[in-house]
Protein backbone atom coordinates (compact mmCIF):
# COMPACT_ATOMS: atom_id res chain seq x y z
CA UNK A 1 0.00 0.00 0.00
CA UNK A 2 1.74 3.15 -1.14
CA UNK A 3 1.42 6.30 0.92
CA UNK A 4 -0.17 9.46 -0.36
CA UNK A 5 2.06 12.52 -0.51
CA UNK A 6 0.61 15.92 0.26
CA UNK A 7 1.14 17.02 -3.35
CA UNK A 8 -0.72 13.97 -4.60
CA UNK A 9 -3.45 14.61 -2.04
CA UNK A 10 -3.91 18.13 -3.39
CA UNK A 11 -4.18 16.84 -6.92
CA UNK A 12 -6.83 14.26 -6.01
CA UNK A 13 -8.68 16.73 -3.80
CA UNK A 14 -8.86 19.28 -6.60
CA UNK A 15 -10.74 16.77 -8.73
CA UNK A 16 -12.97 15.78 -5.81
CA UNK A 17 -13.94 19.45 -5.43
CA UNK A 18 -14.52 19.76 -9.18
CA UNK A 19 -16.78 16.68 -9.23
CA UNK A 20 -18.69 17.82 -6.14
CA UNK A 21 -19.23 21.34 -7.46
CA UNK A 22 -19.91 20.40 -11.09
CA UNK A 23 -22.20 17.54 -10.03
CA UNK A 24 -24.72 18.13 -7.23
CA UNK A 25 -24.07 21.82 -6.51
CA UNK A 26 -24.18 22.95 -10.14
CA UNK A 27 -26.73 20.28 -11.09
CA UNK A 28 -29.17 21.72 -8.57
CA UNK A 29 -28.94 25.11 -10.26
CA UNK A 30 -29.39 23.45 -13.65
CA UNK A 31 -32.56 21.77 -12.38
CA UNK A 32 -33.87 25.22 -11.51
CA UNK A 33 -32.94 26.83 -14.81
CA UNK A 34 -34.06 23.95 -17.03
CA UNK A 35 -37.06 22.65 -15.09
CA UNK A 36 -38.00 25.56 -12.84
CA UNK A 37 -37.20 23.45 -9.76
CA UNK A 38 -36.89 25.54 -6.61
CA UNK A 39 -35.39 24.18 -3.41
CA UNK A 40 -37.35 24.25 -0.18
CA UNK A 41 -35.76 25.64 2.99
CA UNK A 42 -34.41 22.18 3.91
CA UNK A 43 -33.03 21.60 0.39
CA UNK A 44 -31.21 24.93 0.53
CA UNK A 45 -29.43 23.92 3.74
CA UNK A 46 -28.33 20.60 2.22
CA UNK A 47 -27.11 22.30 -0.94
CA UNK A 48 -25.22 24.85 1.17
CA UNK A 49 -23.66 22.01 3.13
CA UNK A 50 -22.34 20.42 -0.08
CA UNK A 51 -20.90 23.76 -1.16
CA UNK A 52 -19.27 24.15 2.26
CA UNK A 53 -17.67 20.71 2.01
CA UNK A 54 -16.20 21.74 -1.34
CA UNK A 55 -15.06 24.98 0.26
CA UNK A 56 -13.21 23.08 2.98
CA UNK A 57 -11.54 21.18 0.13
CA UNK A 58 -10.33 24.52 -1.20
CA UNK A 59 -8.96 25.38 2.26
CA UNK A 60 -6.93 22.14 2.13
CA UNK A 61 -5.73 22.96 -1.38
CA UNK A 62 -4.55 26.34 -0.14
CA UNK A 63 -3.20 25.55 3.33
CA UNK A 64 -2.71 21.79 3.48
CA UNK A 65 -4.62 19.14 5.49
CA UNK A 66 -4.81 20.91 8.84
CA UNK A 67 -6.74 19.04 11.57
CA UNK A 68 -9.38 21.78 11.90
CA UNK A 69 -10.28 21.41 8.22
CA UNK A 70 -10.65 17.67 8.58
CA UNK A 71 -12.73 18.14 11.70
CA UNK A 72 -14.93 20.64 9.92
CA UNK A 73 -15.55 18.39 6.91
CA UNK A 74 -16.41 15.44 9.17
CA UNK A 75 -18.89 17.61 11.07
CA UNK A 76 -20.40 18.83 7.80
CA UNK A 77 -20.65 15.25 6.53
CA UNK A 78 -22.39 14.07 9.68
CA UNK A 79 -24.73 17.05 9.84
CA UNK A 80 -25.45 16.75 6.13
CA UNK A 81 -26.49 13.13 6.59
CA UNK A 82 -28.74 14.13 9.46
CA UNK A 83 -30.31 16.86 7.34
CA UNK A 84 -30.86 14.51 4.40
CA UNK A 85 -32.36 11.81 6.62
CA UNK A 86 -34.59 14.31 8.41
CA UNK A 87 -35.76 15.66 5.08
CA UNK A 88 -36.12 12.29 3.34
CA UNK A 89 -38.01 10.98 6.39
CA UNK A 90 -40.96 13.09 5.26
CA UNK A 91 -41.20 11.14 2.02
CA UNK A 92 -39.29 7.84 2.18
CA UNK A 93 -42.30 5.75 3.14
CA UNK A 94 -44.57 7.08 0.41
CA UNK A 95 -45.56 5.07 -2.65
CA UNK A 96 -43.61 4.79 -5.90
CA UNK A 97 -42.18 8.13 -7.00
CA UNK A 98 -44.33 10.14 -4.57
CA UNK A 99 -41.46 12.27 -3.33
CA UNK A 100 -41.08 16.02 -3.11
CA UNK A 101 -40.42 17.96 -6.28
CA UNK A 102 -38.06 16.72 -9.03
CA UNK A 103 -36.13 13.48 -9.12
CA UNK A 104 -32.81 12.61 -10.76
CA UNK A 105 -32.28 9.05 -12.01
CA UNK A 106 -35.27 7.93 -9.97
CA UNK A 107 -34.13 9.47 -6.68
CA UNK A 108 -35.24 12.81 -5.28
CA UNK A 109 -32.74 15.50 -4.42
CA UNK A 110 -32.81 14.92 -0.65
CA UNK A 111 -31.88 11.25 -1.29
CA UNK A 112 -28.94 12.37 -3.41
CA UNK A 113 -27.92 14.79 -0.64
CA UNK A 114 -27.67 11.84 1.74
CA UNK A 115 -25.50 9.90 -0.73
CA UNK A 116 -23.27 12.88 -1.43
CA UNK A 117 -22.57 13.38 2.28
CA UNK A 118 -21.86 9.67 2.77
CA UNK A 119 -19.45 9.70 -0.18
CA UNK A 120 -17.79 12.88 1.11
CA UNK A 121 -17.08 11.21 4.44
CA UNK A 122 -15.87 8.04 2.72
CA UNK A 123 -13.51 10.02 0.48
CA UNK A 124 -12.08 11.91 3.46
CA UNK A 125 -11.61 8.60 5.26
CA UNK A 126 -9.79 7.08 2.30
CA UNK A 127 -7.54 10.10 1.80
CA UNK A 128 -6.63 10.13 5.48
CA UNK A 129 -6.00 6.39 5.41
CA UNK A 130 -3.38 6.72 2.74
CA UNK A 131 -1.99 10.14 3.62
CA UNK A 132 1.64 10.23 4.66
CA UNK A 133 2.31 12.33 7.75
CA UNK A 134 2.48 15.95 6.76
CA UNK A 135 4.69 18.73 8.00
CA UNK A 136 3.34 21.51 10.16
CA UNK A 137 1.94 24.80 8.96
CA UNK A 138 3.76 26.39 6.09
CA UNK A 139 3.12 29.08 3.53
CA UNK A 140 -0.08 28.89 1.50
CA UNK A 141 0.18 26.85 -1.70
CA UNK A 142 -0.37 28.65 -4.94
CA UNK A 143 -3.18 26.81 -6.76
CA UNK A 144 -2.16 25.49 -10.17
CA UNK A 145 -3.74 23.28 -12.79
CA UNK A 146 -6.76 21.40 -11.50
CA UNK A 147 -6.67 23.30 -8.20
CA UNK A 148 -6.87 26.59 -10.04
CA UNK A 149 -9.76 25.29 -12.11
CA UNK A 150 -11.49 24.06 -8.92
CA UNK A 151 -11.30 27.56 -7.43
CA UNK A 152 -12.71 29.17 -10.55
CA UNK A 153 -15.49 26.63 -11.01
CA UNK A 154 -16.44 26.91 -7.35
CA UNK A 155 -16.73 30.69 -7.57
CA UNK A 156 -18.89 30.53 -10.69
CA UNK A 157 -21.21 27.82 -9.35
CA UNK A 158 -21.61 29.48 -5.95
CA UNK A 159 -22.35 32.78 -7.68
CA UNK A 160 -25.04 31.03 -9.73
CA UNK A 161 -26.47 29.59 -6.51
CA UNK A 162 -26.43 33.05 -4.98
CA UNK A 163 -28.44 34.39 -7.92
CA UNK A 164 -30.96 31.56 -7.63
CA UNK A 165 -31.14 32.08 -3.86
CA UNK A 166 -31.81 35.79 -4.39
CA UNK A 167 -34.63 35.05 -6.82
CA UNK A 168 -36.15 32.17 -4.82
CA UNK A 169 -35.65 33.33 -1.25
CA UNK A 170 -34.89 37.04 -1.47
CA UNK A 171 -32.42 39.24 0.38
CA UNK A 172 -32.14 39.02 4.18
CA UNK A 173 -34.18 38.70 6.30
CA UNK A 174 -36.29 36.67 3.87
CA UNK A 175 -35.58 32.96 3.82
CA UNK A 176 -36.46 29.72 2.03
CA UNK A 177 -39.96 28.31 2.14
CA UNK A 178 -41.48 24.88 2.70
CA UNK A 179 -43.34 24.87 -0.60
CA UNK A 180 -41.47 27.17 -2.98
CA UNK A 181 -42.95 28.10 -6.35
CA UNK A 182 -41.05 27.20 -9.52
CA UNK A 183 -38.08 29.33 -10.52
CA UNK A 184 -38.91 32.29 -12.72
CA UNK A 185 -36.87 35.24 -13.91
CA UNK A 186 -40.03 37.36 -13.90
CA UNK A 187 -40.02 39.34 -10.62
CA UNK A 188 -43.81 39.22 -10.65
CA UNK A 189 -43.57 35.55 -9.64
CA UNK A 190 -40.90 35.92 -6.99
CA UNK A 191 -42.03 34.99 -3.50
CA UNK A 192 -39.94 36.50 -0.72
CA UNK A 193 -41.31 35.42 2.59
CA UNK A 194 -40.62 34.71 6.22
CA UNK A 195 -43.48 32.28 6.60
CA UNK A 196 -41.16 29.70 8.15
CA UNK A 197 -40.68 32.02 11.11
CA UNK A 198 -44.18 33.42 11.29
CA UNK A 199 -46.02 30.11 10.90
CA UNK A 200 -46.67 28.88 14.43
CA UNK A 201 -44.76 25.60 14.69
CA UNK A 202 -44.14 24.23 18.17
CA UNK A 203 -40.59 23.03 18.72
CA UNK A 204 -40.78 19.27 18.95
CA UNK A 205 -38.34 16.39 18.92
CA UNK A 206 -40.63 13.91 17.16
CA UNK A 207 -43.46 16.01 15.74
CA UNK A 208 -46.47 13.92 14.82
CA UNK A 209 -44.65 10.82 16.05
CA UNK A 210 -45.00 12.07 19.63
CA UNK A 211 -47.71 9.63 20.63
CA UNK A 212 -48.18 8.48 24.22
CA UNK A 213 -48.12 4.71 24.62
CA UNK A 214 -51.57 3.18 24.45
CA UNK A 215 -51.26 1.76 27.95
CA UNK A 216 -50.35 5.15 29.37
CA UNK A 217 -53.40 6.63 27.67
CA UNK A 218 -55.61 3.91 29.18
CA UNK A 219 -54.11 4.43 32.63
CA UNK A 220 -54.73 8.18 32.41
CA UNK A 221 -58.27 7.84 31.04
CA UNK A 222 -61.12 9.47 32.93
CA UNK A 223 -63.58 6.62 33.68
CA UNK A 224 -66.56 8.81 34.58
CA UNK A 225 -69.28 8.49 31.89
CA UNK A 226 -70.67 11.89 32.90
CA UNK A 227 -67.51 13.59 31.59
CA UNK A 228 -67.78 11.99 28.15
CA UNK A 229 -68.25 13.77 24.82
CA UNK A 230 -71.77 12.45 24.26
CA UNK A 231 -74.52 14.06 26.28
CA UNK A 232 -77.36 12.37 28.14
CA UNK A 233 -76.44 8.75 27.55
CA UNK A 234 -78.66 6.05 29.05
CA UNK A 235 -76.95 3.72 31.50
CA UNK A 236 -76.41 0.05 30.86
CA UNK A 237 -75.95 -1.81 34.13
CA UNK A 238 -74.59 -5.25 34.83
CA UNK A 239 -77.20 -7.84 35.76
CA UNK A 240 -74.74 -10.49 36.87
CA UNK A 241 -71.06 -11.16 37.33
CA UNK A 242 -68.91 -14.04 36.16
CA UNK A 243 -65.19 -14.47 36.29
CA UNK A 244 -62.36 -16.22 34.61
CA UNK A 245 -61.33 -18.75 37.21
CA UNK A 246 -58.79 -20.49 35.00
CA UNK A 247 -55.28 -19.56 36.13
CA UNK A 248 -53.86 -16.80 33.94
CA UNK A 249 -50.23 -15.75 34.20
CA UNK A 250 -50.88 -12.02 34.21
CA UNK A 251 -53.49 -9.30 34.15
CA UNK A 252 -56.10 -9.69 31.43
CA UNK A 253 -55.60 -7.31 28.46
CA UNK A 254 -58.10 -8.62 25.92
CA UNK A 255 -60.82 -11.21 25.61
CA UNK A 256 -62.82 -12.82 22.82
CA UNK A 257 -65.52 -15.49 22.77
CA UNK A 258 -66.06 -18.05 20.03
CA UNK A 259 -69.78 -17.97 19.18
CA UNK A 260 -69.61 -21.52 17.78
CA UNK A 261 -68.04 -23.31 20.76
CA UNK A 262 -68.32 -20.84 23.61
CA UNK A 263 -64.56 -21.03 24.20
CA UNK A 264 -62.67 -17.94 25.34
CA UNK A 265 -59.45 -16.47 24.07
CA UNK A 266 -57.58 -14.35 26.59
CA UNK A 267 -54.45 -12.27 26.15
CA UNK A 268 -52.52 -11.22 29.22
CA UNK A 269 -49.56 -9.14 30.30
CA UNK A 270 -46.23 -10.55 29.18
CA UNK A 271 -47.52 -11.81 25.80
CA UNK A 272 -49.60 -14.60 27.32
CA UNK A 273 -52.26 -16.18 25.09
CA UNK A 274 -54.72 -18.62 26.69
CA UNK A 275 -57.46 -20.64 25.03
CA UNK A 276 -60.06 -21.38 27.71
CA UNK A 277 -63.01 -23.73 27.81
CA UNK A 278 -66.55 -22.39 27.62
CA UNK A 279 -66.81 -22.07 31.41
CA UNK A 280 -63.54 -20.13 31.63
CA UNK A 281 -62.39 -22.50 34.34
CA UNK A 282 -59.79 -24.48 32.40
CA UNK A 283 -56.88 -23.52 30.19
CA UNK A 284 -57.02 -25.64 27.04
CA UNK A 285 -53.86 -24.21 25.54
CA UNK A 286 -51.30 -21.69 26.65
CA UNK A 287 -48.41 -19.95 24.94
CA UNK A 288 -46.32 -16.94 25.76
CA UNK A 289 -45.23 -15.26 22.55
CA UNK A 290 -41.76 -13.97 21.92
CA UNK A 291 -42.87 -10.46 21.03
CA UNK A 292 -39.43 -9.47 19.84
CA UNK A 293 -38.83 -12.23 17.33
CA UNK A 294 -38.72 -10.91 13.77
CA UNK A 295 -41.70 -8.58 13.85
CA UNK A 296 -41.91 -6.35 16.92
CA UNK A 297 -45.26 -7.17 18.49
CA UNK A 298 -46.35 -4.49 20.95
CA UNK A 299 -47.99 -5.40 24.26
CA UNK A 300 -50.96 -7.61 23.40
CA UNK A 301 -54.22 -5.69 23.39
CA UNK A 302 -56.88 -7.70 21.58
CA UNK A 303 -57.94 -11.18 20.53
CA UNK A 304 -60.39 -12.73 18.07
CA UNK A 305 -61.56 -16.10 16.81
CA UNK A 306 -61.33 -16.21 13.03
CA UNK A 307 -63.56 -19.23 12.47
CA UNK A 308 -62.52 -22.82 12.70
CA UNK A 309 -59.69 -23.06 15.20
CA UNK A 310 -57.69 -20.09 13.99
CA UNK A 311 -56.91 -17.53 16.67
CA UNK A 312 -55.73 -13.95 16.17
CA UNK A 313 -54.08 -11.61 18.62
CA UNK A 314 -52.92 -8.05 18.07
CA UNK A 315 -50.39 -5.82 19.79
CA UNK A 316 -50.94 -2.14 20.51
CA UNK A 317 -48.64 -1.34 17.55
CA UNK A 318 -50.99 -3.17 15.15
CA UNK A 319 -48.67 -6.16 14.74
CA UNK A 320 -50.66 -9.39 14.65
CA UNK A 321 -50.06 -13.08 15.24
CA UNK A 322 -52.18 -16.01 14.01
CA UNK A 323 -52.21 -19.18 16.08
CA UNK A 324 -53.72 -22.64 15.70
CA UNK A 325 -54.21 -25.33 18.33
CA UNK A 326 -52.30 -28.27 16.88
CA UNK A 327 -51.39 -31.39 18.83
CA UNK A 328 -48.73 -32.12 16.21
CA UNK A 329 -47.09 -28.71 16.46
CA UNK A 330 -43.36 -28.80 15.75
CA UNK A 331 -42.16 -27.36 19.02
CA UNK A 332 -38.57 -27.18 17.88
CA UNK A 333 -39.50 -24.80 15.10
CA UNK A 334 -41.90 -22.95 17.42
CA UNK A 335 -39.14 -22.28 19.95
CA UNK A 336 -38.18 -19.01 18.27
CA UNK A 337 -41.81 -17.83 18.32
CA UNK A 338 -42.84 -18.86 21.85
CA UNK A 339 -41.15 -18.22 25.16
CA UNK A 340 -43.53 -20.76 26.69
CA UNK A 341 -45.86 -23.30 25.16
CA UNK A 342 -47.91 -26.26 26.28
CA UNK A 343 -46.76 -27.96 23.10
CA UNK A 344 -50.14 -27.97 21.40
CA UNK A 345 -50.11 -24.66 19.54
CA UNK A 346 -48.58 -23.62 16.22
CA UNK A 347 -48.00 -20.08 15.06
CA UNK A 348 -49.32 -19.70 11.51
CA UNK A 349 -48.03 -16.27 10.71
CA UNK A 350 -47.28 -12.84 12.08
CA UNK A 351 -47.36 -9.47 10.37
CA UNK A 352 -48.28 -5.82 10.65
CA UNK A 353 -51.59 -4.12 9.91
CA UNK A 354 -51.04 -1.08 7.68
CA UNK A 355 -53.63 1.65 8.05
CA UNK A 356 -54.18 4.94 6.28
CA UNK A 357 -56.37 7.10 8.50
CA UNK A 358 -55.19 5.42 11.70
CA UNK A 359 -51.49 5.86 10.93
CA UNK A 360 -49.44 7.01 13.92
CA UNK A 361 -52.12 5.72 16.26
CA UNK A 362 -52.07 2.70 18.51
CA UNK A 363 -54.93 0.23 18.84
CA UNK A 364 -56.24 -1.52 21.93
CA UNK A 365 -58.83 -3.90 20.49
CA UNK A 366 -59.46 -6.55 17.86
CA UNK A 367 -62.70 -7.96 16.50
CA UNK A 368 -63.67 -10.29 13.67
CA UNK A 369 -66.62 -9.82 11.34
CA UNK A 370 -67.51 -13.35 10.15
CA UNK A 371 -69.95 -12.12 7.51
CA UNK A 372 -67.31 -10.01 5.75
CA UNK A 373 -64.37 -12.22 6.80
CA UNK A 374 -62.58 -9.12 8.04
CA UNK A 375 -60.62 -8.27 11.16
CA UNK A 376 -61.39 -4.92 12.77
CA UNK A 377 -59.33 -2.55 14.90
CA UNK A 378 -60.26 0.82 16.40
CA UNK A 379 -57.61 3.48 16.80
CA UNK A 380 -56.57 4.97 20.12
CA UNK A 381 -56.72 8.77 19.78
CA UNK A 382 -53.88 10.93 21.03
CA UNK A 383 -53.41 14.69 21.35
CA UNK A 384 -51.47 14.59 18.04
CA UNK A 385 -53.91 12.35 16.16
CA UNK A 386 -57.41 13.05 17.41
CA UNK A 387 -59.32 10.49 15.37
CA UNK A 388 -61.47 7.45 16.07
CA UNK A 389 -60.88 5.21 13.07
CA UNK A 390 -62.42 1.82 12.38
CA UNK A 391 -60.03 -0.16 10.16
CA UNK A 392 -61.07 -3.40 8.46
CA UNK A 393 -58.57 -5.94 7.18
CA UNK A 394 -59.35 -8.80 4.79
CA UNK A 395 -58.78 -12.21 6.35
CA UNK A 396 -57.49 -13.46 3.00
CA UNK A 397 -54.39 -11.25 2.88
CA UNK A 398 -54.56 -9.30 6.16
CA UNK A 399 -54.40 -6.05 4.15
CA UNK A 400 -56.58 -3.00 4.64
CA UNK A 401 -60.04 -3.53 3.10
CA UNK A 402 -61.75 -0.34 4.21
CA UNK A 403 -61.57 2.32 6.85
CA UNK A 404 -63.94 4.90 8.23
CA UNK A 405 -64.48 7.45 10.95
CA UNK A 406 -67.92 6.70 12.35
CA UNK A 407 -70.44 9.50 12.30
CA UNK A 408 -73.02 10.08 14.98
CA UNK A 409 -76.49 8.67 14.40
CA UNK A 410 -79.76 10.42 15.14
CA UNK A 411 -80.45 10.95 18.80
CA UNK A 412 -76.80 11.26 19.77
CA UNK A 413 -75.57 14.75 20.61
CA UNK A 414 -72.20 16.06 21.65
CA UNK A 415 -71.84 17.64 25.07
CA UNK A 416 -70.17 20.68 23.52
CA UNK A 417 -68.96 22.07 20.22
CA UNK A 418 -65.36 21.15 21.02
CA UNK A 419 -66.20 17.56 21.96
CA UNK A 420 -65.66 14.62 19.63
CA UNK A 421 -66.21 10.85 19.52
CA UNK A 422 -62.41 10.72 19.11
CA UNK A 423 -62.20 11.20 22.88
CA UNK A 424 -63.28 7.61 23.36
CA UNK A 425 -60.45 5.15 23.91
CA UNK A 426 -61.67 1.77 22.77
CA UNK A 427 -60.15 -1.16 24.64
CA UNK A 428 -62.45 -3.95 23.52
CA UNK A 429 -64.54 -4.75 20.46
CA UNK A 430 -66.77 -7.52 19.13
CA UNK A 431 -69.03 -7.96 16.13
CA UNK A 432 -72.47 -9.59 16.07
CA UNK A 433 -75.30 -9.26 13.56
CA UNK A 434 -73.62 -6.44 11.67
CA UNK A 435 -73.08 -4.35 14.80
CA UNK A 436 -69.68 -3.45 16.19
CA UNK A 437 -69.74 -3.22 19.99
CA UNK A 438 -66.85 -1.12 21.26
CA UNK A 439 -66.12 -0.41 24.91
CA UNK A 440 -64.16 2.65 25.88
CA UNK A 441 -61.87 2.91 28.89
CA UNK A 442 -62.29 6.65 28.80
CA UNK A 443 -65.70 7.67 30.10
CA UNK A 444 -66.68 3.96 30.56
CA UNK A 445 -68.95 3.94 27.55
CA UNK A 446 -70.29 1.35 25.13
CA UNK A 447 -70.51 2.45 21.49
CA UNK A 448 -72.72 0.54 19.09
CA UNK A 449 -71.48 1.10 15.53
CA UNK A 450 -73.53 -0.11 12.59
CA UNK A 451 -71.04 -1.53 10.10
CA UNK A 452 -73.39 -0.97 7.18
CA UNK A 453 -74.11 2.72 7.70
CA UNK A 454 -70.74 3.36 9.45
CA UNK A 455 -72.60 5.24 12.12
CA UNK A 456 -72.64 5.20 15.91
CA UNK A 457 -76.26 4.24 16.31
CA UNK A 458 -76.31 4.07 20.10
CA UNK A 459 -74.10 4.68 23.10
CA UNK A 460 -74.49 3.72 26.74
CA UNK A 461 -72.84 4.78 29.94
CA UNK A 462 -71.36 1.88 31.88
CA UNK A 463 -71.38 3.10 35.47
CA UNK A 464 -69.03 1.24 37.76
CA UNK A 465 -67.26 -0.65 34.99
CA UNK A 466 -63.84 0.96 35.21
CA UNK A 467 -61.32 0.37 32.41
CA UNK A 468 -62.86 -2.62 30.62
CA UNK A 469 -60.34 -4.62 28.60
CA UNK A 470 -62.62 -6.61 26.34
CA UNK A 471 -66.17 -7.25 25.22
CA UNK A 472 -67.89 -10.34 23.87
CA UNK A 473 -71.38 -11.24 22.74
CA UNK A 474 -73.33 -14.23 24.08
CA UNK A 475 -76.78 -14.32 22.57
CA UNK A 476 -78.77 -11.52 24.17
CA UNK A 477 -75.94 -10.69 26.54
CA UNK A 478 -72.88 -8.52 26.39
CA UNK A 479 -69.94 -9.68 28.45
CA UNK A 480 -67.54 -6.98 29.60
CA UNK A 481 -64.18 -8.13 30.92
CA UNK A 482 -62.10 -6.24 33.46
CA UNK A 483 -58.37 -6.55 33.97
CA UNK A 484 -58.73 -8.69 37.09
CA UNK A 485 -60.67 -11.37 35.22
CA UNK A 486 -64.16 -10.38 36.31
CA UNK A 487 -66.82 -10.37 33.62
CA UNK A 488 -69.88 -8.16 33.86
CA UNK A 489 -73.00 -9.54 32.20
CA UNK A 490 -75.17 -6.86 30.61
CA UNK A 491 -78.29 -7.01 28.51
CA UNK A 492 -77.36 -6.60 24.86
CA UNK A 493 -79.11 -3.51 23.50
CA UNK A 494 -81.65 -4.25 20.79
CA UNK A 495 -80.36 -3.24 17.31
Amino acid sequence: MSALTEARLRSILAWVVIVLVAGPVAGAVALGVLHGDSPCILCWAQRTSMALIALVGLFVLRYGPRPKYLGMVVLLGVFGQYMALRHAGLHLARDLGQGFSESILGAHTYSWAWLVHVVALAVIGLLLLFLREVAGAERPHEPRGAARFAFGLFAVVVAANAVQAFVSTGPPPFMGQSDPVRLSLNPKHWVWSMEELTTPAPISLRGSWTVPRADDAVAAADPDPADGPLAGLPALRSVAWERISAPLDGALRGLARDPATGRWLAVTEGYGVDLLDSTATRVLHHVRLDGGWSIDVGPLAGAAFLGGDTLAVVGTNKSWVLLLPDPKADNDSMWKRFRQTDGGVAELDRGRFATVRARLQYVHSLAFDPAAQELITLSVPSPRQRRLVVSRFARSDMALASEFRPSLGPGLTLAGSSRSPAEYLVTGAAVADGELYAVSASFSTLLVIDLGSRMVTAAYALPGLVRPVGVAVRGAQLLLALGDGRIAVLPRPAP
Binding site: C40, I41, L42, W44, A45, Q46, T48, A51, L52, L55, V56, L58, F59, R62, Y63, K68, M72, L75, L76, F79, Y82, M83, L85, R86, H87, A88, G89, L90, L92, A93, P140, P143, F151, A155, V158, A159, N161, A162, A165, F166, S168, T169, G170, P171, P172, P173, F174, M175, G176, S178, E196, A201, P202, I203, S204, L205, R206, G207, S208, W209
Partner: protein, 55 residues
Protein backbone atom coordinates in the same frame (compact mmCIF):
# COMPACT_ATOMS: atom_id res chain seq x y z
CA UNK B 1 -30.89 34.37 4.30
CA UNK B 2 -29.75 31.63 1.93
CA UNK B 3 -28.64 34.38 -0.45
CA UNK B 4 -26.61 35.93 2.36
CA UNK B 5 -24.95 32.61 3.04
CA UNK B 6 -23.89 32.12 -0.58
CA UNK B 7 -22.51 35.68 -0.64
CA UNK B 8 -20.60 34.80 2.53
CA UNK B 9 -19.18 31.72 0.81
CA UNK B 10 -18.12 33.85 -2.15
CA UNK B 11 -16.33 36.23 0.24
CA UNK B 12 -14.52 33.28 1.81
CA UNK B 13 -13.34 31.88 -1.52
CA UNK B 14 -12.18 35.38 -2.53
CA UNK B 15 -10.17 35.59 0.70
CA UNK B 16 -8.61 32.19 -0.04
CA UNK B 17 -7.72 33.23 -3.54
CA UNK B 18 -6.69 36.85 -3.14
CA UNK B 19 -5.85 37.23 0.56
CA UNK B 20 -4.45 33.86 1.66
CA UNK B 21 -2.75 35.50 4.65
CA UNK B 22 -6.24 36.11 6.13
CA UNK B 23 -6.75 32.41 6.84
CA UNK B 24 -8.10 32.99 10.34
CA UNK B 25 -10.73 35.38 9.06
CA UNK B 26 -11.66 33.01 6.23
CA UNK B 27 -12.00 30.08 8.60
CA UNK B 28 -14.03 32.17 11.03
CA UNK B 29 -16.42 33.09 8.23
CA UNK B 30 -16.60 29.41 7.26
CA UNK B 31 -17.72 28.56 10.80
CA UNK B 32 -20.27 31.40 10.66
CA UNK B 33 -21.59 30.09 7.35
CA UNK B 34 -21.96 26.58 8.80
CA UNK B 35 -23.85 27.96 11.80
CA UNK B 36 -26.15 30.02 9.57
CA UNK B 37 -26.88 26.93 7.47
CA UNK B 38 -27.66 24.89 10.60
CA UNK B 39 -29.87 27.68 11.95
CA UNK B 40 -31.88 27.88 8.72
CA UNK B 41 -32.29 24.11 8.68
CA UNK B 42 -33.46 24.21 12.29
CA UNK B 43 -36.05 26.86 11.41
CA UNK B 44 -37.45 24.55 8.74
CA UNK B 45 -37.23 21.40 10.85
CA UNK B 46 -38.15 22.65 14.33
CA UNK B 47 -41.60 21.03 14.25
CA UNK B 48 -39.93 17.61 14.23
CA UNK B 49 -36.21 17.67 14.85
CA UNK B 50 -35.76 13.90 14.62
CA UNK B 51 -36.46 12.35 11.21
CA UNK B 52 -40.12 11.35 10.87
CA UNK B 53 -39.47 7.65 10.53
CA UNK B 54 -39.92 4.59 12.69
CA UNK B 55 -36.98 4.62 15.10
Amino acid sequence: MEFLNFVLILVIVWLLWRRPERERLAFGLLVASCLLMALLFYVGARGSIVPGVNL
